[in-house]
Symmetry: D2
Amino acid sequence: MPATPLTGIFPPLVTPLRDRDSLDVEGFERLTEHVLAGGVHGLFLLGTTGEGPSLSWRLKAEVVERGCRQAAGRVPVMVGVTDPSFADALRLAERAAAAGADAVVIAPPYYLPLGQPELAGYVERFAAASPLPVLLYHIPSLTGVGFSPDTVRRLLDSPKVIGLKDSGRDMTYQHTVRRITVARPDFSVLVGPEELLGEAILLGADGGMCGGANMVPRLYVDLYDAAKAGRLDRVRELHGRVIAVSDAIYSVGAGGSAYFRGLKCALACLGLCDDLPAEPYERFRPAEREEIRRRLRQVGLLAN
Amino acid sequence: MPATPLTGIFPPLVTPLRDRDSLDVEGFERLTEHVLAGGVHGLFLLGTTGEGPSLSWRLKAEVVERGCRQAAGRVPVMVGVTDPSFADALRLAERAAAAGADAVVIAPPYYLPLGQPELAGYVERFAAASPLPVLLYHIPSLTGVGFSPDTVRRLLDSPKVIGLKDSGRDMTYQHTVRRITVARPDFSVLVGPEELLGEAILLGADGGMCGGANMVPRLYVDLYDAAKAGRLDRVRELHGRVIAVSDAIYSVGAGGSAYFRGLKCALACLGLCDDLPAEPYERFRPAEREEIRRRLRQVGLLAN
Amino acid sequence: MPATPLTGIFPPLVTPLRDRDSLDVEGFERLTEHVLAGGVHGLFLLGTTGEGPSLSWRLKAEVVERGCRQAAGRVPVMVGVTDPSFADALRLAERAAAAGADAVVIAPPYYLPLGQPELAGYVERFAAASPLPVLLYHIPSLTGVGFSPDTVRRLLDSPKVIGLKDSGRDMTYQHTVRRITVARPDFSVLVGPEELLGEAILLGADGGMCGGANMVPRLYVDLYDAAKAGRLDRVRELHGRVIAVSDAIYSVGAGGSAYFRGLKCALACLGLCDDLPAEPYERFRPAEREEIRRRLRQVGLLAN
Amino acid sequence: MPATPLTGIFPPLVTPLRDRDSLDVEGFERLTEHVLAGGVHGLFLLGTTGEGPSLSWRLKAEVVERGCRQAAGRVPVMVGVTDPSFADALRLAERAAAAGADAVVIAPPYYLPLGQPELAGYVERFAAASPLPVLLYHIPSLTGVGFSPDTVRRLLDSPKVIGLKDSGRDMTYQHTVRRITVARPDFSVLVGPEELLGEAILLGADGGMCGGANMVPRLYVDLYDAAKAGRLDRVRELHGRVIAVSDAIYSVGAGGSAYFRGLKCALACLGLCDDLPAEPYERFRPAEREEIRRRLRQVGLLAN
């Protein structure tokens, strides 16, 4: 159990695919080295950006093992656990422990409707059984229910619960949660959406899990450092670049999958890995891909 | 592939548990025989009522195998496939085929946001790969997205798509879907909520998947028969009993799990199986259990 | 106060407009006579279909006065009251009483979030102050909150609360409500969506408020009569026509306004009134209008 | 039309009531002087915090007239316009202009479902007809629909649209909107939730409409000043106090009305005005009121 909170930038690593159920191994290794070279402070495997819930059990296990092997102890590795079955969720945590991961990030079971007491009890039982420390995955837009402040307060009594990933987009929630968790100095609050990284760090969060760090890790590391140092002008400049990247890359194509497909397509344009998304999504078509290339040039991520 | 649609009452079989990850085998067999003795026309394993999404892969496989073995060809068996991973969903369909099941009922992947064209493409690819015919599981309250009428129309071109389970509670949707699917006489529209069974059959649906049939299968079979025969007075009487059972048994305890826990507790009170729900839920406490007993007596399902 | 419930077909009268804030008086009178000639049992002014919430206070008062004068006691008149301000809602009820209306249909205040006890208290105070009997307007998709079964039960103690308009599209709710209100024989349950009229009447509802009755009142009156008489074959036939009209006319144009604009455009094509919708909507364009004409011919409402 | 954007703290003034439909005139004047003495930069009448949508037309007109008279030109006055009827909304804007207000803040009509093009057209027509400049009221949780970035971009072509109040709680939206509106230096982005004031100003927003400024205006003015000056340590300290006030005062009592009722009760405890909320809400009971007093002491707003 860490005595200090997890801090810094933990990119939610994209899962490059060769086909529906096999990993683009070279792309995965290249991407991992790319983010590590950019100075990130850890890895987050099988998160939402990594399309974790869409991958088969077999592929999830492979990602965990290859990710830990590739990290090789250079940085901590966190593993997203989003299986609606308790037993299978625990099985993945055990696999992650065996592979050398440092923590799991557990989402509420997201099919059946769930009350807060049920959610709290679930996480208490999971944390008690888990071989690894546990962070809470707060992402109510996808799981239907998030961790209410009272539930967070109750879970502070579980010493293996060591943090919360806040992907809720509502900073009022995060401020309340930080106020509650101040009593646990080892508890880490990490912000999900990269567009909120600047303000989260300025006001006291411990780090961020920024999808854009798959493309350009240094930008988010620099923003984290500037915010930690209270260099406000630099924060504003880098924050502006983060918003520009986000507005450009995540809005091609319609609907809620624009983020995933845009990010994966950009990684392909940058030569990092294949752009095949997991089912049920399809690759961008040539016109959309060309638009992504155009925008990457526009925001300075691709040379002419 | 059946030339005629699936018709009649297919109880979404409750999954009795001995503990978190093991089946109450005797309860499962007893329950199966109980519903078959009540005249049901088939079984639906691993649906929402069966807590399918909450069970481990191992336990799902066991339920499928034991369920098919117990049915022993007496009635058709359908298997709910709700895994958000395509590969694991297909793996379960293959297991179901090997065990002798007759069809799978496939839900939209329910974690990431999904557009209708993506959903249609997903099901087309799944149906093409599946060894078993496929019914669509329309339950937007839990999966976030349902099958729009246009998507249903498109999927009629997939001959392996043979039906739809409508658990949407909006009969205007069902009427539109039946109007669309009239061109495919082998296509089966089955209603989910038992409170809608009477009207659905009166107006042309093919059958129902009624959770209450776990407790008292004959009631739903009788209602189905009366509605098929157009015996309106009898329909009204039996429909009234169905609503009375529903109002009594599914409203003890707070929140969205009242249905599951109430049903499972009632089955325990009726001596059919254990009342342990799957994670993340907990058993009813003694006071709630006593209230269920009281209500079972009130609606005439339990003798004094 | 009526000793018997309101029964039959009460078309939610469309409000024909000449421009943004003036009534198409001739169209309004023509439309009123058209539905009365079709045998409807009453009128419902200023409902959702009548775009009540979008009209100015002045125009609402004019509609109420002209509507009551035109009805001239031939049928009962109900008035929709959807003002989020208690005082203005009451003022409209008083105006309706002065004009000779028979009842108001009151929606929950729909801007601020509202709990069930607050909603119940609000309606109790409103009913106590209202000069006219009150029906509950259950339309949670637009008001955010509906009347829970427990709230309906509590409001049965207010003798001036004499009915509920169920526009919730969830017939399981309606069945539960009818079971609760059986203790008040003067209490009227009226179904909103015309697609549910057949089954609602077959299973015991008292009537319907069918938007399509603006176009072709006789169809809905006939369906009501057939369902009341238990003539099941006739119900199925007329129900099929209702669904055909609904699928054809309410699905031209995108988004949630397709219903309003389609209905108003159809009324214009039928020569009944202007097709100008209230703000914030715009009239259908020529191509959409031509499509409505084509569909009206297809479902037999317009001669070639 | 102002050449520079509206900047600073504009408290959404609470509307003190004597009874259901009459203003607590003394409380209103006292409250107005209280916030002005605290250094606020303007007033926002009839917003959500002011329970604008719940007030009668008559009372709204009175609030506008008394508010403008009391401000007496010392600070700009904005008026919330949330009437779902275009004509009545415009009528209120005209009344506001006649009373000497400086701008209106217009919400999307919030009863019927609305698409973005319809919303944009609505606001264009409203702005063209309005005698006062218009700010957009972005509060999708209450109006169902908000102003998408593309709609904001389109509305920049309307010179009378001079700002946006962002009450959406999603700062990623605000960052995108600020990036779009940078081309209009006179365009003002004001943040609604006071818990987000610090970060909003630090990263470039123009001001805030903080409900808590009714109680303790100086706190929010100080935070605004500190953030403008880039004094990060001071920002963190004051932000911490803002969160403490928010967590303490807005969470007594259940449900969505805890904010309104808590705030109004606190104002009563501070001796500023009556605590009667507008319908459909009821005053806090003695125990809840005592709890508010206790918490006011805890956060240092009430002496022992």
